[in-house]
Every structure is written in structure tokens, then in C-alpha cells.
Amino acid sequence: MNMSGFQQRVKQAKAENLWLLAGLTLAFTPHFFRLSPLVMLPGIILLCWRLLFELRYLALPPRTVRWLLTFIGIFATYIAFGTLVGRQAGVGLLVIMLCLKLMEMNAQRDVGVVIGLGFFVVITVFLFDQSIFMGIYMLLVVTLLVTALIAFSRDQSEIPQWANLQKAGAVLAQAVPLALLLFFLFPRIPGPLWSLPTDGAGAGTGLSDSMSPGNISQLSDDDSVAFRVQFDTALPLPQKRYWRGPVFTQFDGRTWSNPYPQNLTNRLSINSQYQVSGEPSLYTVTLEPHQQRWLFALDLPATIPPDSRLSVDYEIIANQPVRQLIRYSMRSFTDYQLAKNDAPDISRYLQLPAESGIQARKLAQQLRQKVTDNAAFVQTVLNYIAEQPFYYTRQPPLLLNDPVDEFLFDSRRGFCEHYASAFVFLMRAAGVPARVVTGYQGGEMNPQSDYFIVRQSSAHAWTEVWLRDEGWRRVDPTAVIPTERIENQQDLARILPEMAGVGAAPNWLKKMGRQLNFGWDRINHAWNQWVVNYNTQRQQNFLSRLLASAGFDNIDWQEMITLLVAGMALVMTVVAMYLLKPWNRQSRDPAQVVYERFCQRLSRRGMQRQPAEGPLDFSRRAGQRYPQRARDISNITALYERQRYAPYPTQKNLQRLQHAVRNFIV
């Protein structure tokens, strides 16, 4: 290809269309990767087609082909998503149709429509991802689209394209104050603006609604954030940092599960045996979306967040799956007694599968017979785990036939889920009510800020055992494994809360990495607090705090609207002052005022004076057009010239000018 020829083509292409194509391509990119290749492929082909058309290598398809393409597009969307409505399918259809619109974008109007829809695509991207990166990226896309809009509305002629880009930047920068005002002051509607239709099971990270320890051979080390916590009271002790999540009571020999509990309650105290002591911990959790319904809280929660209820196992279950970032305030007592002297629904916590764990049952009976009471039995089993060669590993062997027996007597290698599962099995086999609790254990303070981070890598499974005199007691069988039997020293912190920070190599690079990580997390946290999760509640709090001194107390939406309008008016006034600079304007020359009236009179007859046309030139032109009036026109012009440009203008001359203009009739 001849390079200069190519450049020529680029130069001759319509600039606004090139900007638009660039903007659309970037706007589609996140969708392309998220949605099906059935959307991505035709999308890319159509974008390229349009680009080649702009460079005059290709023609646009004829009408029949366009119809065909449209049907294929709809069909492809249907194949890809199985439907045409819903979030993913809807966006997919929008992308395809917008790409197809490029095939018939001929008239000016079409360009305007496509640019407008481009902005809409930008909005749809935020239905999937509201991260700070996406925000910045979409700002770039919006800049390109605005540039396209500017190039589109400006005369195509001489303006270099970077000037359009610069203009777009300036326009966006000017919009910032208004955007901020709208963001902070526009009344938020409680709850999500519209309920997003679900697209089947969204793949969420984090805990799941069942646990099958034998099926996992590799525990992933996912450092993403599960939730962040801001403590209003002192941090709980490390050994008390158990964040309660799903509780499993049912075991089929391979999988622990707990179908979503039926009898939820919004009464805190399910039974009377709920005793707490010590000071409560007060904190606010900002939970990342995980597509499930559990909310996490320190053991033992003492409040129930709004829109959620409590199960008999003290799980907090939200009414809706957590599909977007949510915040809730919590109160927990880390010192508690639950269901003391009050037998729980025994059968539920003694259930065991009929066929499996024959050896384990025998072992349980043996150990139980050695001791007198259940509490001693718990200790015996813990001792058994501690003394027998059990190893902690994150790469356990698969347990194929009978996970419990294979683990206890054969492999003896596993992580928390294996131990919790085996422990509860042994308890139940000896008639002690027990359940598996999953959730998160530990977490770390962000040293650069004032909040606590709990990551997915802190996911944990432990057990609870019911003892008559004590109620439910938390037992963490993983914690009794001696440190020398932990394969990877870095897992120490994972298992023993007290050991947090030990074992990690004191490596400056790692330290710096951690610092960066914390810094980045802090930015993310602020983004979540102030942008993504700026909801009704937070808006209220923020504005009330901000305006408390101004006498506003508990601001309502009418006041917000008033403030919004007032703020916009203020911004616009400042902008207008800046643009018009009234303090710079001298009092207008009366001669000029009169002359302008004269020009207006002529312009009403279609004789328009160009802004850059001098009075003499205009007089000549007007005189040619109205020969009968030529004398008056040149007379007025001469008076004006004398008044405005000649030395020593006089009041008398001005009066003559005014008089002449007053009597002037076209």
C-alpha cells in the first residue's frame, strides 16, 4: 500500500466519522469481551467495514444485504443469549444493531443518532462494571464521542483535528462543576434505580452454597476483596475475628449443604438462650457483590441489617442476591453464649449419611467411650487430630469414594474444609450436635487508612458443637494442627489467627508491593464509598453534615432540588461572568449604538452588514442595492465615520447622526 496514498485517504475521510468509530470501538470493547463471541465477531467486522468505507476502500452494502444482516444479527443474539431481553441480551442486541446502523449512516441525522446511541452504550457498560478503571476508561470514550460531536457540528474546513479534541477536553472540564452538583445533590431514589433482570447464575467469587472438600485438589489463592469493614469501636481480638457466613447442616457423604433456610426471622433472638457479655463491636461492612444472599458479620451478630433476615443458624440472609456493592451497619458481640441448656432441633444436627464413613463412626464410638462427657470428647478428637500425622496443605489429593474415611485414615492431608467436615462427622457419629460454619477468618487493617480488609483468601470453614452447659461452642479443628505439619509456612497466618504476619519473608519488595496494594485498595474503598455506593442514606448524611451549619437539618428532596437549582444557577452565573466579562465592557459609544440601529433597519430589508465589514464598504454595497437611498446612506456613514473615527467628535455631530438615522427609511 502506498503510504502517502493511505494518508491522503485518512485526510480526506470525514473526521467526525473517524472519531465516532474510534469512540464506538472503545465503548464496545468491554462488551465484546464480556458478551458472546457471536456478538463480538460481527461487531468487529461491521466496524472494520465502516472504517474501510470511510477510507473509500469498500462500499456500504445495498439495502437487501442490510436487511439480511439485520436478521442474522437478531438471530445471532438469540442464539448467543437464548433470549432478546434481559441485561446481557439487551446490550448485545444494542451493540449489534448500532454496528448495523453504521452500514446505513449516510445522512447528517444518522450521524447524530449514532453519536447519541454511543453515549447510551457507555451507560450500559456500567451495568456490568462500576470500577474506577472502567470509570476512567469510559471518560476517555466520552471524550472521543464529544470530539466526534464537535467535529460533526463544526465546519469541516480548516480546523486541525487536535483542536477538536482539545475543545472536547475543555467542554468536559467545564461540565465538571455541573456534574459534581448533579451527582451530590440530585435526590437519590432509595433502592436500585431499576431492578436488573437476572441472567441465570452469575459467576461470583467467594463462598458457595455447598461444600465438598473431597472434590478440590487446588485451593486458589484469590486476593480479591470480599468486604471492607470500618470499625467504630476497637478492633476485636485476632482470635475473635470470625466472620460468619453460610452454615451447613446436611451431609450426603460427599457434600455439605444447607438449602436456603425456610423459616427466616427478623427477630434477633430466635430463642431465649441468647446471652451476651462485654462491649459490642460496632462496624460498617461494605460488601462486594458476590451474587449470593449471605451477608457477613462478626460472630455473633446482634442486629439484622435492613432487607435481610436471620436463619436459625444465625446466618444473615439478604432478601435479594447481592448483585451490587452494599453497605450495612452491624453490631456484634464477640463474647456470647447461644442456646445454653436449650436443646436445639437435635435431629438436624445429628444427621449423617447412611452409607459412608463406617470407619469414622467406629473411631468416634471408641473415642467417646474413653471419656465421660461431650466436652471432653471434643477435646479428645482435637487431640487426635493434633497427635496423628494430619497435614495442612492447599493441594490435597482428591477423595473419590468415601471422603470422610479416606481423609481420616488414608490421606490425612487437607485444608480447613476437610478438617471441619471430618470433625463434624465425628461429633455427630458420637451423638454430639454439630454443624459446619463457613465464612471468613481474620482480615487485615489497611495501614494507610482506617478500615479493615477481608479478602477471599481469608475464606475459612470451622465448626460449632452444642454442649448442654455451654450452648453452641465454636471449635476450629484446623487450628490444632501443629505448625511443623503445615506444608507452606505462609499458610500459618491462614490457620492460626495469632500468627498473622509471621512466616512471611521480610522482603522489601514484598513490603513495597503490600504498600502499593493497600494504597490502591484505599482508593478503591473511597471510590466505593463516595461514588458507587452514594445512596439515599449516604447522601442524606453527607448533605446534613455539610449543611448543618447553614441551618439545614435532615435535608429532604425538595430542599435538595432547591439547592441543586441554586447551585446550577451559581455555576452558570460564574461561567457567564467569565465569558462576558461585564467589568471589561466600556460604556458603549452612542455613535455605535445609533449606527447599529441604522444597520438593523437595513438588515430587516435583507441588507445584512457582515460583522467584519467596514462602514465604508457597507455604505458602498448598500448604496448599490438602494440607489434612491444612496445619498442618505453615505451621509449617515460619513457622520458616523466622523463621530467614531475622526479626531474631535462633537455632540452636535452626534445629534445630527441620531437625527439622520431616525429619519432614515429604507
Binding site: 480548516e158 480546523i159 486541525p160 483542536a163 459609544d589 455605535q592 457582515q610 460583522p611 467584519a612 465589514e613 467596514g614 462602514p615 465604508l616 464598504d617 465615520e641 467614531r644 473615527y645 475622526a646 479626531p647
Partner: protein
């Protein structure tokens, strides 16, 4: 001198010169305005369109002492300024003034010389004096330079740098004559002969008076507003690499005043500014887009800026 007398006289000069340089009234007027504004003139055009003749006829008409320097690539500063030569009879150095010591210099094909020779001329233009061998010698008054320049795409040219182009008040080009002028030229007498017979139009010292009159032309606030708006627009416009300098603004105003005098007014009008603007400004501005198009962008600038 009264206003109408001045006008009459200027018209006479123009008419006189037009007899030799045919069909170029507007250009002659511009050149004359440039001299009235005490500025140096740059004429840029192809060889053979009458650049030299124009310079020559102006000198003759105005009764100025005239010297022509043909610039070549081997021209040395001493060839322009003069040298001291040892005189045996007087047993000392005797200064032989160069061609620069004249009232009207025609620097022909100034861009054929090396930058060194060019700068000798251009310094003299700026200072009104020359320094040779440590001694400063004043140049005669009035002192004009009319430089001619071949288009820079021609072979063997050293384009003048921007800073030196700035020294010229105006740049004009002549272009081909129209058909009737060309016919008259072809059928008429030899131009050289005509030049020889050509007399002067004004008395010695009158030129100084005319220049005085040009500098006294009134400039109203309204016109200053307009000039400032133009300067401002040139600085804001993305079409130019940089805007007009304050010196360019002064040049614009001076030229507009001289032009006003030419058309018989004692105050300058926006039309005057618009007439001289392309000639004053074009060689000082660099258009971003493409060379050769600057006139168009300049016109666009003139059309965009409203007259306040």
C-alpha cells in the same frame, strides 16, 4: 500642506510611476504607503515582472539618491558597507563607502546572497547606521530599502529567517500585468529609456513632510479596539503557529495610517487596516496547515473578527 494638497501630490506621484510600471496602481500605492510609513519594502515575485523597475521609478519620482545592489551568493558584507583602503598619498586609511550609503537602496534578489551578507543589509535597515571597523557611520536620511526576492522554491536561494522578514514593513508581489497593460508594455517604449527621461515629482524635503503627515493621521479608540481584536484573534487562532507580535501590531497601525493618507483621509478607518493587513502581516505569520495557503487563512481571520 493641506490635506487635499497632499492627496493631489500623492496621486500625481502614483500617476507618474504608473506610466512606467503599467497596470500596477494598487501595488504602487502600497509601495508608496510603505515609504510614507518609514518602512522597508519587500517585493516577492518571479523574475521579470518589474520589481526592479518599480523600485527604480519610485526613487526617481521621489527624487531620492538611488543605489542598486545585486545580491549574489559570493557577495560579502564589505561589498555592501564599504571598505577602508590604504592611501599612499595621504599615508593613511581612507574609507570608501559602499552602495549602502544612499537614500533608496534596491537590494535585488536579496535571498540569493548568503545569510552573512543579508545580515549586513538588514542590520543597517534596523539601525539606520552602520558600524565599520569600529566606527559608526550614519546613513543618509531618508533611508529606504526595497528588497526583491525570488520565490523560495527557486534554485539557489537562502530564505530570509523570520526575524529578518520582520524588518520589512510590507511584502507585496506584482504578478503578471493584465492584457491591456501588457499590450501597452509590448507596444510602448523601452522602460529603461523612459526611466532616464523620468523627472521627479516632489521637492527635496517634501518627502519628510509627507511622512510627518502620515504619522499624524488620527487613530480613534474604536480603531485601536479593532486592531487589538485582530492581534488577539491571530494569537488565539489554531491556524497559526504563533500570533502576531506587538511589533507587527505597530507595523499594522503605521501602515494603516499611511494608507489613510494615501486615500485622502486624516483618520484611519477599519477598511484601511483591512487593505494593508495582508501585506503587513502575511510574511510574519506562519500558517499551521500548509504553506501557500496562508493568504486564505488570513482572509478567514479578517472575516471572522468583527469590527467593534
Amino acid at each position: 500642506m493641506q490635506n487635499n494638497e497632499i492627496t493631489k501630490q500623492l496621486d500625481a506621484i502614483v500617476a507618474h510611476a504608473s506610466q512606467v510600471v503599467l497596470g500596477k496602481q494598487h501595488e504602487i500605492r502600497l509601495a508608496l504607503a510603505c515609504l510614507l510609513a518609514r518602512g522597508h519594502l519587500l517585493i516577492e515575485d518571479l523574475p521579470g515582472v518589474g520589481k526592479t523597475t518599480l523600485a527604480h521609478v519610485l526613487a526617481q519620482t521621489l527624487g531620492l539618491q538611488y543605489q542598486r545592489i545585486q545580491f549574489t551568493s559570493d557577495l560579502l558584507p564589505a561589498d555592501i558597507l564599504g571598505v577602508s583602503i590604504f592611501d599612499k598619498s595621504e599615508q593613511g586609511f581612507h574609507f570608501h563607502p559602499g552602495p549602502i550609503f544612499a537614500q533608496l537602496i534596491l537590494a535585488d534578489e536579496v535571498n540569493r546572497a548568503t545569510p552573512k551578507a543579508q545580515s549586513a543589509l538588514l542590520e543597517a535597515m534596523e539601525e539606520g547606521q552602520v558600524t565599520i571597523e569600529g566606527k559608526t557611520r550614519p546613513l543618509p536620511k531618508p533611508f529606504f530599502v526595497i528588497a526583491t526576492q525570488n520565490p523560495t522554491y527557486q534554485i539557489g536561494t537562502f530564505p530570509l529567517p523570520e526575524s529578518q522578514l520582520d524588518r520589512f514593513l510590507m511584502r507585496i508581489s506584482l504578478g503578471y500585468p493584465d492584457a491591456s497593460a501588457e499590450r501597452a508594455l509590448l507596444t510602448g517604449d523601452d522602460r529603461r529609456e523612459m526611466l532616464k527621461q523620468h523627472g521627479t515629482c516632489i521637492q527635496p524635503g517634501q518627502l519628510e513632510e509627507l511622512q510627518q503627515a502620515a504619522s499624524k493621521v488620527h487613530v480613534a479608540d474604536a480603531l485601536l479596539d479593532y486592531v487589538q481584536a485582530l492581534l488577539d484573534a491571530s494569537r488565539r487562532s489554531p491556524q497559526f503557529t504563533h500570533g502576531l507580535s506587538p511589533r507587527a501590531g505597530l507595523a499594522l497601525l503605521r501602515s494603516a495610517k499611511a494608507w489613510a493618507l494615501m486615500v485622502g483621509r486624516n483618520h484611519a478607518m477599519p477598511e484601511d487596516v483591512q487593505t494593508v493587513m495582508p501585506h503587513v502581516v502575511e510574511h510574519r505569520l506562519q500558517a499551521v496547515v500548509e504553506p501557500g495557503r496562508d493568504n486564505k487563512t488570513l482572509m478567514a481571520l479578517l472575516q471572522d473578527v468583527a469590527i467593534p
